[in-house]
Subunit: 167 residues, 2 copies
């Protein structure tokens, strides 16, 4: 999957690596080779990925197959818990993206090529909070995915997006 640099990073005081170390140490967890390899790889560039892509991608590097599948899953969970990654669910599988040092945003999801395009809307945020207030609901977050077909795919030959494609 291609990187989407639609939004700029916000400045943060420490690197993801430092953040993760703090998180681990504060919980008596250890900084292992595998965790280092994973966080370095994951924060090398901003994109969306699932566990399989990460594993495939990782095994192409020198770090190679030094990290097993279960460890990848375990570490992804830790990175989410540490606030470094955000997880969303797309058609049954978990998809991850950078959270730490990255602004709140939502996604357009092309049902043909599966690409995720990021966008930001303050208005949306406003609506979300207003609706929460109306229902006396304490809002902690939201997930919006707009489904459709991206420009490139629109110009190519078509297949109908079925209702089954909707997230």
């Amino acid at each position: 999957m291609e990187a989407d640099f639609a939004l700029g990073a916000v400045q943060v005081s420490s690197s993801p690596q430092e953040r993760f170390s703090e998180y681990l140490q504060s919980r008596g967890k250890r900084i292992t080779q595998q965790r280092r390899a994973l966080i370095d790889h994951v924060f090398e560039r901003h994109d969306h990925f699932d566990a399989d892509e990460l594993i495939a991608n990782l095994s192409r590097t020198e770090l190679g197959d030094k990290v097993s599948r279960p460890t990848v899953y375990r570490t992804l969970n830790e990175l989410v818990e540490a606030g470094l990654l955000r997880r969303m669910n797309l058609g049954g599988r978990a998809v991850y993206e950078h959270d730490y040092g990255y602004p709140q945003h939502d996604h357009l999801h092309c049902t043909m090529c599966d690409t995720l395009i990021e966008f930001q809307s303050d208005e949306l945020q406003r609506i979300r909070d207003a609706v929460g207030r109306e229902h006396r609901f304490r809002v902690t977050g939201h997930r919006l995915i707009v489904s459709g077909v991206c420009q490139e795919c629109s110009t190519k030959r078509h297949r109908r997006a079925s209702p089954l494609d909707l997230v």
Copy 2:
């Protein structure tokens, strides 16, 4: 799960049963006992449910255990395809609600009791379409889930909503 009658039904020309029959016949599919039992049960009242709840619920009726698990799954897929049900994904499993004759809406999801509260926002629709235009993206639909804690759960004793709870 409780029914949420937050929004009123819009009037439609034919019943879900009739709609389903049309759908089936137009495709050379058959109107079987099982399909009848399922659509009657599903449209008895408006609520959100997953496959397991439907099966459990159904086996409590006289129709009893006349419908097997695979048939429930197969029929749910047909009902979605027929435009009678909408499917959304909540924490790994599929959740269904009435689509036919029911207005477009989104959900507040309480991460403590798992209840879904419906709300409607024209503004949201507007934003969605505007964003699509900006990105030359042909929008076919969207899914928004606002996570948080509902009023009842807020007043009860707490457990922290972890980031893992986010849809």
